[in-house]
Symmetry: C2
């Protein structure tokens, strides 16, 4: 659709929707026409939810998780093990870890990963906040992403944390459960082989 | 993501986004986190665009096109040929026709198509409005969709309009330009053959 031929408010909506990740001009036009068709109550519920998220949520002052209360429920929960600190890049990386049900310690969100190409150095990440939280911590689990930037960040943090006598661990690399050796790329397979364990 | 573990406002936003067509829970979570990350100005621009579309746009009282003024710019444009009336199912079907640059008449939007399965009969469509607009019309072009419901609607309207002495036409069926005979489905190809023209 050529947005310049649409009525102005529709044009504006298509343009705003097209700024969302993974939403091209055609999808934006389709979503805009959908919003035009639904009830005003339903459309306004979405608009209000967007405004509310920006108005009510912020980063936890301790761990940088997204929260509506400070400290967040992870930092405030006395049942969580203060000896374990799991480090992730982004707030939404916490949820998949929680879903495993295997982790009961605290979190720390770096708000990014080292990326010389994009000009992200250590001072751009919440590393000072991490170093300020190490009292009583025995193990730091580096759960940065399994890509070049996440790996670089993990190695940088390991060099920083190991001299402090902490146990520093990294999430295991290997074959995805339910996967197939034949379809596993060779880098993953080689990490999987190097990381082999006795059964 | 299990929305029940997210902070409430984020949960609300994921739920509202997941009501959009083609947006599943994972995409909704990704969009919600994106909106959380962008500036408040950008997020509010989207929210306001949604509200504005509902507050400022409505159906043209003559042709049912989406418009911010009544009558719409198609109905108000004296340069458009009043002898031609092109009938579409939905307001957003007008834009692709306009883009061809080949049509300079008026439009009429039915706001749907006949569908006995979904309980849409002639009385659910804007057919009375169409019949009320035939003064001075010479040709009615039926541009309903090339599917079962669009075809049924076109045939229903043709039976209604032809006895009134109007020229009733239907958009041509055939091979898509740039397509390939080998990859054209047999129904389309048979329509293309039946509709063959001398060159």
């Amino acid at each position: 659709l050529t947005p310049d031929r649409l009525p102005d408010p529709l044009q504006d909506l298509v343009r705003e929707l097209a700024r969302l990740p993974g939403v091209g001009p055609k999808t934006a036009a389709r979503l805009a026409h959908h919003l035009l068709k639904v009830s005003t109550v339903e459309a306004e519920a979405l608009a209000q939810a967007i405004v509310a998220v920006k108005a009510l949520l912020f980063h936890c002052s301790r761990c940088n998780a997204i929260t509506a209360v400070d400290p967040c429920r992870f930092c405030a929960d006395a049942r969580r093990d203060p000896a374990q600190l799991l480090v992730v890049e982004e707030p939404f990386n916490i949820e998949p870890i929680e879903r495993t049900g295997e982790y009961h310690g605290r979190y720390h969100v770096l708000l990014g990963a080292l990326s010389p190409l994009r000009g992200v150095g250590p001072e751009e990440l919440a590393i000072d906040g991490l170093l300020a939280r190490l009292d009583g911590v025995v193990e730091v689990i580096l759960a940065t992403n399994p890509n070049v930037e996440g790996e670089a960040t993990a190695h940088y943090l390991a060099r920083l944390l190991k001299p402090r006598g902490l146990r520093v661990t990294r999430l295991a690399f290997g074959m995805p459960v339910g996967g197939d050796i034949e379809y596993t790329d060779e880098v993953t397979l080689s990490r999987s082989l190097l990381g082999r364990r006795e059964i």
